[in-house]
Amino acid sequence: MRALVIAFREVRTYLQDTADLAFSLLLPIAIFTLMYAAFGGQLLFQGTAHVVNEDPEGIYSTLFLERLRGIENLEVKLLSSKEAEERLDRSDLLLVLRVPKGFSNRLASGDPAELILSQRGDAGQEGQIVVSLVRAVAEEMGEEFKVREQVARALAGRNISQERTETVLQKFMDRERANPILGVQEELVGTRPDPVNMFLPGIITMFVLFAITLNARTLLEERREGTLERLLTTQLTVGELFTGKFLAGLARGFLQTLILLSLSQVAFHLFTPLTFAEILIVALIFAAAVSALGLVIASVARTEDGAIWIAVFFTMVMVMLGGTFFSISQGSPLYPLSRISINTYANDAFKAIIAGEGSLTHLRRELGIMAGIIIGGLGVGRVFFRIMPGGR
């Protein structure tokens, strides 16, 4: 009960301190945004097809460009013939697609038609991908023409109106395109290599860990202000004092994670209700572990400056080894060292849940290690508080 009163007072102070709030909420958002902007685009293909359309009125050229535009991650830009030539000359463009005059008419009358791809050198990586995409669309349209032709031949002389044949066929082919017999499904192996999963857990856990400085400070601030000594003359036991401080740190860290995760959910839709609940449990356990470690520092340090330096050193090492900005794979020489960082376990657990790879039962090892840190931290902190001067 008294422990709750202590925790409540501290959380209230935290919520009223704009500097602390900005540090623990705005800064991580800013850093994540930077990382996302810097690395976000590179992981997915984004290309542009530069097209000279010399058959602007034709129905088939229009249809072709429409299909091209329908491809995800491909932008279609129209150029004049002159502009295209100039830019190819300057190597400003490496690939231009030309839809020649009479393209639609030739197709309509059953004659073969051609699309012309002018490329400079090997057209670059982007150009090569654009070439394959153009080929795929052209082949798809070619297949459709073949089907049309064969159907028309088979039905010839049977007195069915050409219009009717055309509509039925069109419906048929639309359905086929929507649900192809042979489809391709893209699947990613391993954790999702997108910047959200790469940086989000690391940045969140890093800032929750930074809050360890706040935790370490509170006890020493109270020592300096004399309120700790006053508390020690009341009926408050040291157990209650520790529980209160522990709960305050836990609540702060959890609140911080909850807000950051909720914002990520709004921005990126990472979670189902179940995985969101799961990640909150991980967040709770991590916040508790951080809070317990903060109490150890608070009990060992004699001054606030001392506590801040210990906390800064500690968090730097943990963040570096925790794979915050780069992942440390099993073969890496850093791997054994990364195992001593609490962030490693928190990040692994966060990433697994975001990637949909693990429920809490799969994360038993990570959660167990963090639980061990909570218990060990509280115990060690209590012992230090007893043996250091001014403690009890």
Partner: protein
């Protein structure tokens, strides 16, 4: 003969090589205001910190209401209220919130904690400032709330460590008034100061401390008569006579 409420026996405390308290023994009776007088560094605060169970004595013991501060500290703590020499307040909380917070710490619950908080704020004349942040208070007002917090839970024994140091006459008079009210209610008080006229006015008995030791202990009147006519002699003169030094130099 009134009951002995606090008995201190041969208390010792050293910080590294310095002997802060060097064999202090005294007794305070129930309902008495007992003064500890002495210059800076005499060991007054260290004595109070040991008696209020914050600091463990190197040697010696004391009982409060029969409970040893070494072996039965929890029980002793239930009987005491402490007004520390250094202000011990949460600057970001209001006066009332400070009172309620520490009230909860001494075991008050429910409505009682609020009722007592308001009553004690009134006693020190801070009712109007109940909702204001303590950080914005004047020095004198902070001293008064520092004292008011010590009253939460109606402790039977109060430790007041220089409660009037460095404040304006108005706040000082308010604190004297408060202490006299408390005496009338029969509360036992250990009061430290280096203002002799304060001790003269408030204390039933005083112990004069110097260098960690008690060098004289009696009623103010008796102490003054030791060196001359009690009407003309001051406690300052007593100290000068006993130590050859001025109380404040």
């Amino acid at each position: 003969m009134p009951e002995e409420f606090l008995v201190a026996q041969d208390l010792h405390k050293s910080f590294s090589a310095d002997k802060a308290v060097d064999g202090v023994s005294f007794t305070i009776h129930t309902g008495e205001i007992f003064g500890l007088l002495g210059p800076n560094g005499a060991g007054k605060t260290t004595t109070i910190r040991m008696l209020s169970t914050v600091l463990e004595p190197d040697r010696g013991d004391a009982t409060i209401g029969g409970h040893s501060i070494r072996r039965d500290a929890d029980a002793a703590r239930k009987l005491i209220g402490v007004c520390p020499q250094e202000l011990a307040l949460y600057q970001d909380l209001s006066a009332l919130a400070n009172m309620i917070f520490f009230g909860r710490m001494v075991g008050l619950t429910g409505k009682e904690v609020r009722v007592q908080a308001m009553a004690h704020l009134e006693l020190v004349g801070l009712t109007e400032k109940a909702k204001s942040k303590v950080g914005k208070f004047s020095g004198g007002m902070k001293r008064r709330i520092n004292l008011a917090i010590a009253l939460m839970g109606h402790p039977e024994l109060l430790f007041l460590d220089e409660p009037t140091v460095g404040i304006d006459p108005q706040s000082r008079n308010n604190i004297y008034q408060t202490i006299e009210d408390l005496r009338d209610k029969g509360i036992t008080i250990l009061y430290t100061t280096h203002y002799m006229e304060e001790a003269d006015r408030l204390c039933d008995r005083v112990a004069i401390m110097d260098g960690g030791k008690i060098i004289a202990m009696d009623t103010p009147h008796q102490l003054r008569s030791r060196i001359g006519s009690p009407e003309t002699v001051t406690l300052e003169d007593v100290f000068l006579k006993l130590t050859g030094r001025n109380l404040r130099d």
